[in-house]
Symmetry: C2
Subunit: 214 residues, 2 copies
Amino acid sequence: MGRPHQTLLSRTAIAHAALELIDDRGYEALTMRALADRLGVRGASLYNHIGSKDDILDAVSELLDAEIDHTPLHREPWLDGIAAYARGYRRVLQSHPNAISLVARRAVHTEDALREYDTLLATLVRAGCTPALAAETAAALDFLVIGSALETYAAGFTRPPAAYRPEHPALADSLEAANRVDPSPTALDDRGFEFGLRMILGGLAAQLAGTGSG
Amino acid sequence: MGRPHQTLLSRTAIAHAALELIDDRGYEALTMRALADRLGVRGASLYNHIGSKDDILDAVSELLDAEIDHTPLHREPWLDGIAAYARGYRRVLQSHPNAISLVARRAVHTEDALREYDTLLATLVRAGCTPALAAETAAALDFLVIGSALETYAAGFTRPPAAYRPEHPALADSLEAANRVDPSPTALDDRGFEFGLRMILGGLAAQLAGTGSG
DNA sequence: ACCTGAACACCGTTCAAGT
DNA sequence: ACCTGAACACCGTTCAAGT
């Protein structure tokens, strides 16, 4: 307390503390004052290292992006590699549920992120896609990952499956059937994601093999 | 000005004004004071009709949900009906880009929303799905729609396609190829969505016809 | 029944001081 | 070079008045 702080503060250190705060206490708990407090400093000090709160959100976004493991993209067979990459991507988002809304609206332009996407597209082209088809596939996979991580779907329905039974028989049947397959709360999300992944990658493989419906 | 207001205020009227404000001036412009101003009233008055700002966000969410046209779900052939429904769902979200982050994190439990999902699941079951498979398909479609509406993907890449050319050749090639197919700014999103939709519904149809890979 | 003004505790951000 | 206290304009929300 008596000693002055050494150089504890930096854009990266602030981003790490911000992500911890979001993980621990939720997105709305990320306050400049609360963040400074967690860093043993006084609010206004943060502005010596970052330009604005928005800047911090960008830094947190980059932090999450850096957590994604893209080594599976170099694996063979390429289909399994891409599936593993997509699952890992989704797992990172799911492990920071309070930060998901942040990721969803914030484009990442880091050199790392670009290299990652470059690798994905190169893998798809090597597998036989035209560059344009590779872009479409990558986009579809991205949509599936982000959409499933946001999980509005299961959040909306996993909860009270029996409540609206008589008025909505198909809904109740489906949810009960899905629940019978696996009763864990994220199971329907997981299975929806896996289904979509299988359809996209399976359909792509069929198309590349010339058996697609074109 | 001299006359007292008649009953202009209500939860619904407030929600409509809130959505207008979000559409016009962005999500962060939705302020209790600004919203009241748009309704010719003074901030605190809103609390006579709604419980909190969060309550307003729920109401806006319901408003968007009500815009979705689910009549295509009753059309034949069911495959085209579901595709049309998914496209309409996505179109509604895209027509309120400033409100998308709101929809993404907010589960809608309205009677209308439940009926909508019930219809979708009933359609899938009628087409031959087991209830569990119907739930997975509906989830995958939902993820694709929401993920593509959030459009992080294209927001991140459509912009500066030439800038990082040498370091990321596959990325640059894909974006340029996609751009050549259709240069409009949302084209890659649209094509990614359509590709995912085709893969999911095509794969489902094949699976139901017994030609799937199981 | 419902609009109002004033106030509350909070927020992001700035800036003149300090060291 | 960087932390600080105080201040700024703002925010969501409450509440005693008013009509």
